[in-house]
């Protein structure tokens, strides 16, 4: 399901000299997606807190202002509501803005703009106006960021009809999905698992930090390609159970499955809206068991929706109740990060229980 556009012109003269495939971490892959889109489409522009000259607190927009000019990538006031309102107005004019919200924890001042405006504009105006904006925001924990730099708010966006919510788990997907999001005519919330920026993280926090080097998903085409929104990836095939995950939890799930010794199938949803329901259902019908893993707190989390969908569509194939492994229903705690974080051990234990059920 990967669309590679071989005819795309090289992004810049500089990049014409580099090989077609390069090893990138997720920051570099996202930067490459933005670079490619700035070069291809003069209606694409980027703004947000610290994204201009400095290149963003996580370096995702590093060098873009220098390469594409001040007006294509610039700093915004510390005003999340203002950033999104401005982006919607630009979108209504005909641009494709890609605003950044520095941390997903800080997106809430813009919530009214996303819910009452971006998500509704096309519907309420009968297609006269729409907001083709892509809101990038780092999210999730595992970096000792405490409760204001660690949250996973995806479920509150998934609940808003009219918004799309995309969450990549590796550099290759990050670039392809971000390009698809920018090219999409609907507003997209693009959540970047910040713990994955520099390397895959499987939740084993006491082990040495890994980089993306050597990971097959770190081999990223330097040009234009996109991955359709709403296409899940089967990361590991298996027969005994289906594990649904996205973002950092894809890597945690792989580790947990290995630890459990259970032949589970792992699906990386990649976008929760649109949701690839067919891939999910096909897998659960085959395995008869389903476990959902997410970092966000459990109650009212996206796992609840997934669980309901699986139950509604696979009830007669299910051998056991659907299980959820998720963050506890507390605010994200600082000192207790690794007690809160649903790591591979919790997943492995739940998988063993799921098979026993």
């Amino acid at each position: 399901m990967i669309v590679i556009d071989g005819d795309a012109p090289p992004a810049t003269l500089e990049s014409a000299a580099v090989p077609e495939i390069a090893t990138m971490n997720m920051v570099e892959a996202l930067n490459s997606a933005l670079d490619v889109m700035l070069a291809r489409d003069p209606d694409v522009l980027i703004f947000g807190e610290d994204v201009g000259y400095f290149g963003g607190v996580f370096r995702v927009t590093n060098g873009l202002q220098k390469r594409h000019g001040l007006q294509r990538c610039f700093d915004a006031p510390i005003s999340e509501g203002g950033i999104i309102a401005t982006a919607i107005g630009m979108g209504a004019y005909g641009l494709r803005p890609v605003p950044e919200i520095q941390f997903a924890d800080y997106i809430l001042p813009a919530f009214d703009q996303l819910v009452s405006e971006a998500a509704r504009l096309r519907y309420r105006s009968n297609g006269e106006f729409w907001a083709p904006i892509t809101v990038r925001s780092p999210y999730g924990g595992g970096i000792f960021g405490g409760q204001t730099h660690s949250q996973s708010p995806e479920a509150i966006f998934a609940h808003i009809t009219g918004l799309k919510t995309v969450i990549p788990s590796n550099p290759y997907d990050a670039k392809g999905l971000l390009i698809a999001a920018i090219e999409c005519d609907d507003p997209v919330i693009f959540l970047e698992p910040k713990r994955l920026y520099n390397g895959p993280f499987d939740g084993r926090h006491d082990q040495a930090v890994k980089s993306w080097a050597g990971h097959e998903a770190a081999e990223v085409p330097t040009g234009h390609y996109s991955i359709p929104l709403g296409s899940a990836a089967i990361v590991r095939e298996g027969e005994a159970a289906t594990v649904l995950a996205y973002g950092t939890m894809v890597h945690v799930a792989l580790a947990g499955i290995a630890d459990s010794g259970i032949d589970a199938e792992l699906i990386d949803l990649r976008s929760i809206v649109p949701l690839d329901i067919e891939t999910i259902i096909e897998s659960v019908r085959k395995t008869g068991r389903c476990l959902i893993l997410h970092e966000a707190s459990r109650f009212g989390g996206f796992g609840g929706e997934l669980s309901a969908l699986v139950q509604e569509r696979c009830f007669y194939e299910l051998e056991a109740p659907v299980r959820r492994v998720a963050g506890y229903d507390t605010p994200y705690p600082h000192a207790f990060e690794w007690d809160y974080f649903p790591g591979p051990a919790r997943l492995a234990a739940a998988l063993v229980d799921l098979i026993r059920d």
């Binding site: 522009l45 007006q71 915004a76 006031p77 005003s79 509501g81 203002g82 309102a85 401005t86 982006a87 919607i88 107005g89 630009m90 979108g91 209504a92 004019y93 005909g94 641009l95 803005p97 001042p109 009214d112 703009q113 009452s116 405006e117 509704r120 504009l121 096309r122 519907y123 309420r124 105006s125 009968n126 297609g127 006269e128 106006f129 729409w130 009809t161 009219g162 799309k164 999409c184 005519d185 609907d186 709403g230 809206v273 649109p274 949701l275 329901i277």
Partner: protein, 411 residues
């Protein structure tokens, strides 16, 4: 406790309440023509007195005087008069249609008709207005089909917004009229973004946005002003200070402490305070701000000082919180009467023509309402149910396709 004075919490209250004699207190109304009109390239530091003035062009005898007298031709002014009168005729009839059970909701703009009509005629076709729900006169000035308005209000089979939106929350892109919403203030920043996009594309289009004085308390207002100021956006930001936000008087939004135009000072942009019932002053102030915007001098904040003569909406009864006859005592008069008087003073208009036009407009509205009634009033006719599922996304995902079927709609 120390021997310091006891602190006192101040809760602003209007001067008069129902049953009391109307009193607009110390409202200072400077004579028409008394405010200077700085050059459009005057630096902001030379404009800081303007937020505390009241720009007026029409004097008590209907003569246009002073530096803010616009160069508008009598024909242009007659178009403005027609738009205001049509708005009023339409409001009267559709308000009644609500009382007759033909729709669920209506909002009138009585007394505020100049605020939409004049800017609508001043700005170009390609410019974009980000309206509030009380600037119907913008559409009237541009000849938006009445039948489409009534069909929208009736949410019937020919509703241009397909039954998805509350009555009067129009959208009319072809008329430079952005999609309305019931959430007040949330489009103020869109105007700034739209204007920034125009500048980014090196286009020549500008934006104009309205917000109520009550809504200036929302973050949206201050966020929009911040962005407009920082990026020098080609936008005109208008506060329609009609004295009332449902039942809260303007003092609850801070009017007792300063003017709304003066909010511009902290953002370093010009702030004009304009008699909103003076069509000529509204025209002229809009022209001044538009010229600044078009010459890369950035945003202007305009406070239109006016009065909401009607209730907030069909769900409101203003006699519960303000003297019933307060609208009749508004010291700045009525915008329709004042423009009529001016055109008569100029010899371009007379009572007979006014009456004739009034009859003609009533008939026009009546015809549109009849035509829309023939399609159906609320509940008697509606767009196909399939429309409920359209337009959520550019292309529906499986949820909407499945739910359409669930609702009994065959593909």
């Amino acid at each position: 406790m120390t021997n310091r004075p006891k602190l006192q919490l101040h809760i602003p209250e209007p001067l008069t309440r129902p049953g009391e004699a109307v009193d607009f207190g110390g409202l200072v109304i400077p004579p028409a023509g008394s405010v200077d009109r700085p050059a459009i390239d005057a630096p902001e530091c030379d404009l800081r007195h303007l937020p505390y003035q009241l720009i007026r062009a029409l004097d008590d005898d209907g003569r246009a005087i002073g530096p803010w007298k616009p160069a508008a031709s009598p024909l242009q002014l007659m178009r403005g008069l027609r738009a205001m009168m049509l708005t009023r005729a339409f409001d009267e009839r559709l308000f009644r249609a609500h009382r007759q059970g033909k729709t669920s909701f209506y909002m009138k703009s009585t007394g505020e008709e100049a605020l939409g009509a004049a800017p609508s005629l001043v700005l170009d076709r390609g410019d974009m207005c980000f309206p509030t729900y009380r600037v119907l006169s913008w559409l009237m000035a541009r000849g938006y089909p009445l039948i489409d308005l009534v069909n929208q209000i009736f949410s019937n089979a020919k509703d241009p917004l397909k039954g998805r939106q509350l009555p009067i929350l129009y959208s009319a892109r072809g008329y430079g009229f952005y999609s309305l919403s019931g959430n007040v203030g949330s489009r103020f920043g869109h105007a700034v973004g739209w204007a920034m996009a125009s500048a980014y594309k090196q286009d020549d289009k500008i934006a104009l946005a309205y917000i109520g004085e009550g809504t200036t308390a929302e973050g949206d207002f201050h966020e929009a002003l911040t962005f407009a100021s920082v990026y020098r956006a080609p936008v005109i930001l208008c506060v329609t200070n009609n004295q009332w936000a449902i039942s809260s008087f303007a003092g609850i939004a801070g009017a007792n402490e300063t003017t709304f135009a003066a909010k511009a000072l902290a953002y370093g942009i010009p702030g004009l305070r304009v008699d909103g019932n003076d069509f000529l002053a509204v025209w002229s102030a809009t022209e001044w701000a538009a010229e600044r915007a078009r010459t890369n001098q950035g945003a202007t904040l305009i406070e239109f000082f006016t009065y909401r003569a009607s209730g907030h909406s069909t769900s409101d009864d203003p006699t519960k919180y303000r003297p019933a006859d307060e609208p009749n005592h508004w010291p700045l008069g009525d915008p329709v009467d004042r423009l009529k008087q001016h055109l008569m003073t100029e010899g371009a208009w007379d009572e007979d023509r006014h009456l004739l036009l009034s009859v003609e407009l009533d008939a026009e509205v009546k015809t549109a309402v009849r035509e829309a009634e023939a399609v159906g009033t609320l509940g008697k006719s509606k767009p196909p149910i399939a429309e409920m599922f359209e337009g959520v996304f550019a292309k529906s995902d499986w949820r909407l396709i499945e739910q359409r079927l669930e609702a009994g709609i065959l593909p």
